[in-house]
Symmetry: C2
Subunit: 294 residues, 2 copies
């Protein structure tokens, strides 16, 4: 594939940023890659992994002359990143991001975007429980969805550029309204992570001998939760701080449903338990039919 961009800057070189750098390299999507991260240690790792032409901890400087800037930091850093890069952005540049909450991403970055620059919010539905530049890999986005949530006045050509980048990485693009994205992902991603963190936290509070048995017999269900609960704590802190409203609303529904099951267990209501457990099988079938099982 011929290069889509002359110079791309990736800010934040964790799992997602470093995977994107690898994919861009592997598929020749940009002539020049600049990798930026405020953490000098991360920069040293990125250098030694050879993921970019230039590696810098100077965020402000990193975007100068780039025609495409992808922000891959935790959401909590967006305002600071926006403030740093705003003045240096090239006229006509496209800025995008990979954050898990889209309305908050828009709120944090838009105030800093010059009129000559187009911001296209995005979210690749891809990841692992591992963090950092060494955990990334070029195929992370292959056969995955990437959701874009452009604003009503976003230039369609900018949306097309972001689309081509992700398609070049093997992903398929979907377009959603930002707040709707945040609600859907609140259910599919944020609530599951919150629950997994809770259940693993509950287990880690057990007395030492009990905790070792829980680990020993974790294959009986617990293990799957430990994988999810091993995800990056800073990223997830920022997700919950930035998608508060949707998460709290979904959590309330979840709590009501859990209370009903709790009551059924206390009362020995086998019919209610059976009917609830039988219903959820259909969803699994739909997930498999949708090709969402590896």
């Amino acid at each position: 594939m011929s290069a889509l961009f002359e110079k791309i800057t990736i800010i934040g070189m964790g799992l997602i940023g470093s995977s994107l750098a690898r994919a861009v390299q592997a598929r020749g999507l940009a002539e020049e890659i600049v990798a930026a991260d405020i953490d000098e240690e991360v920069c040293a790792q990125v250098k030694s992994l050879g993921l970019a032409d230039t590696v810098t901890s100077d965020i402000r400087q990193s975007v100068v002359g780039s025609d495409f800037v992808m922000i891959c930091t935790p959401l909590g850093a967006y305002a600071a990143v926006g403030e740093a890069i705003g003045p240096g952005l090239k006229a006509g540049a496209v800025v995008s991001d990979v954050g898990s909450v889209k309305q908050a991403a828009i709120d944090a970055l838009m105030p800093y975007m010059p009129e000559s620059v187009q911001f296209v919010p995005g979210h690749p539905i891809a990841g692992t429980e591992h963090s950092g530049p060494e955990a990334g890999f070029a195929a992370l986005f292959a056969d995955r969805w990437c959701i874009l949530t452009p604003l009503p006045d976003t230039d369609i050509r900018a949306v097309e550029k972001v689309t081509k980048l992700w398609e070049g990485c093997g992903a398929t693009i979907d377009i959603l309204e930002p707040k709707h994205h945040d609600l859907v992902l609140g259910i599919t991603s944020h609530l599951p992570h919150l629950i997994a963190y809770t259940i693993v936290g509950t287990a880690s509070d057990l007395e030492d001998d009990m905790a070792s048995e829980v680990i020993k017999y974790s294959a009986s269900g617990f293990r799957d939760f430990t994988r999810i609960a091993a995800s990056d704590p800073v990223m997830w802190r920022d997700v919950f701080l930035n998608n508060k409203e949707a998460v709290l609303e979904i959590l309330q529904r979840f709590n009501e449903d859990l209370s009903a099951l709790q009551k059924a267990i206390r009362r020995g209501d086998g019919t209610y338990l059976h009917d609830t457990f039988a219903r959820t099988r259909d969803i699994r079938k739909a997930v498999i039919d949708a090709g969402q099982v590896d």
Copy 2:
């Protein structure tokens, strides 16, 4: 391996029972296998799969002349199975089971065990989200734990026979006290399943268009819960009805921990969220170090 048993009867030919029949066949652990299931349709499947020498829906008759009887039905059927087989059990026979709750298994079966018979409660920590005789496979128990919870007066030779059977299937034996087993598995297995059923149920209550999006983007966390929530509804109804006390106790701790996280989200307490999310990574590491990740 030379046969451990002359005649083994397996009652309940679902995922676990049919996998055991396959493993016993594959490793030549018994000279003769009798498979029993009250469901005629299941019997027909077992016959056509060739999993046993004799297949019958007559539970009472199935144990006559057997030196080993393994009960693999849902827990709710134990008392009826015990009542049916009690009079027909051969003197010196060993009876065991695979139920997920051990104190309830003991309470349901012991009243029907003749003095000349030894009952050794057991629980292989193995399974998949699939059900029925066609879902079984011989390697299901390989490199898995199998917990036995013998009573204080159980004959050690009977425990050894059950141990050899499971070791013959590739499992490793561990011995626990029944009530302690129920508490540990309440945490590692019963609570995770209850939570997964809840979260998938919450999602299935969504309006149709939202539900289809949840399925589409399920790879972001939700998917892992759908797998757990696809498990057999009858088996899990019986688990919760029979381990009520332990499950409700653990659920209370879980609810307290979830409330604390909910409050932290509402208040925007990033420090609390980060510290909770960082703590759970150690448990994942311990699970990996314990060789419990495939």
